[in-house]
Subunit: 331 residues, 2 copies
Amino acid sequence: MANIKQIAANMGVSVATVSNALTGKGRVSQEMVERIRKCADELGYRPSLAGRALRSGQTGILGLVMPDLTNPLFPRIAQHLSLEADSRQLSILIADSRGNALEQSQAMKRLVDRGVDGLLIVPQKGTSPESQPVPTVIINTASDPRNIVSADHAGGGKLIATHIAGLGHRKVAMLGADPVSEVQGDRIDGMISGLAGTADFQVFWSQDGLGNLIRAVETGVTAIMATSDLLALSAHSQLTRAGFSVPDDVSLTGFDDLPLATAMHPMLTTVAQDVAQIADRAINVLTLAISGESLPDTGTTIPMHLVVRDSTAKPRHTPKPNLTFKQEISQ
Amino acid sequence: MANIKQIAANMGVSVATVSNALTGKGRVSQEMVERIRKCADELGYRPSLAGRALRSGQTGILGLVMPDLTNPLFPRIAQHLSLEADSRQLSILIADSRGNALEQSQAMKRLVDRGVDGLLIVPQKGTSPESQPVPTVIINTASDPRNIVSADHAGGGKLIATHIAGLGHRKVAMLGADPVSEVQGDRIDGMISGLAGTADFQVFWSQDGLGNLIRAVETGVTAIMATSDLLALSAHSQLTRAGFSVPDDVSLTGFDDLPLATAMHPMLTTVAQDVAQIADRAINVLTLAISGESLPDTGTTIPMHLVVRDSTAKPRHTPKPNLTFKQEISQ
DNA sequence: CAGCTTTGATTAAACGATTAATCTATTGGA
DNA sequence: TCCAATAGATTAATCGTTTAATCAAAGCTG
């Protein structure tokens, strides 16, 4: 492996001159710069990141901590983050916080020990990652005060609920996976605000089983809004078993626009987040913070957009609002 | 940030003694070792990986190159790899080869420039990653001669086909996504061998559309074996549209056992790979290679296992084999 | 032409850890 | 008592890069 010293020896100059020529700093004659560049090319010189890191104190590596790498959204986030990082000559080290706050904090420490210049954190549900000795960008949801960038989960919920309400549904259900999750909470809050009082609603959690949800459909619910596509698929399978057809008997919506949304039949109406934009913003803010700027004290939320497909339709018969059913949240 | 020099100053000894005490090398009195350890703890000393890397030439970082980070299997691979790496004090840098061989080779180069000690490559379909200056472990399929570790895709295909044949199906179809993929090719080859001549079969590719597949069902195919769960979901939705019921009219199988396999209705019979074991083996071989051992000249294949659920059943009526249909491979 | 600035290069220190080589007591053996 | 062996520490070099400080020569000004 060629190093700066060998180039210097080859050219009969000092290492400082080579370094200056290659980095464009200091004072080196134009002619010398070109000769050194050429020589470096010929020797296939690649600067040692270790040497540079030692000298500069920066590694050019960012740490990414995900709550659970099997989260279906992880691939897309990782991909875009990796793309953005590449274009800035940075690399991304991954870590899994394995479902609990302790592992999350250990993962963060490991990455810091590794010498990452900054941290990108998608926090564990219901946790607030402690502050670290390196700049940290939290990717979560707008309602988290420590959040730096996020999709507008509440806005997405509002979009989908407005769509459902606009179709004329007057008795609807929301389906979440875990009430502890801020993201899902915000999505549901957004849905509620999107209904704008035009429909009765009830919230179900899949951890309690889907039986109650099916019973609700039997008693007149005409639309189900799930907080994830996978959950929507589960609901769809239960509805099918119970003899209900989507969207004829019940409209159904998801969240995130995963590949399965278009593989299902009917294809799922859902809401997509602009992961590329989130990644771009996250890396931008983080690199600025690394170079000394202070983190913004208020988070950016990236709008979501509605993807209307075949799983939503006008309700077959719009039942009269049932007052005993109104605004009640199960849990 | 505390460094070795500060500890040395604090204790009134030389840096060499501190280093020796902390790494357990050289000759240091037991008592001194303990005092130095204590002092290091108190100062919150973390060794600088950059310093160590510069001296030793090793970074403790492995590079992971995936063909497409949105590959549904990526999360699980990444998770287990990350777990195994952690337990060996290693970290994982990710890179995306973005669907083409050029980007794949660039990603590999970037990682090497970054100073990774070794490379884990899940190759782009139909490509053979060129050799790199660091040890490289290729995770692919057994039929790839450069492969070091893989799931037994052919074996998995055989398992599922044996299951289907055992149920009594005599006219079946395979559904793949891309004929260029070695993995899918091996899965299908395995299926064919699993049938052991007991059934007629035909192979379809989703890129040609699913119309031909449906027509095949209309003309008597009673089982469809897909090379991925997502593909199975697509097939299911088309079957439903065409009025066929699974598994009453057609049996359907997937591959990989993704979360959607249990969210579907009926729950999907599929085949699962032991990603943990693959990750373990991959990292083991790689770390050995990094420490000087030579790579095994023959790959290890990790067995898959069959997960029987509700999407497969005996055929309703076993049609007579149609000889014109026999052993013909479309595409 | 003396004095000053500018250009183009070099010297040497620094980053933090590891380690071969060296040095100094101390212990043991004969 | 003297020499050798050994334990326990130190010295100094090294990994590859950056950069402040320095220096020599050339160019410019009045």
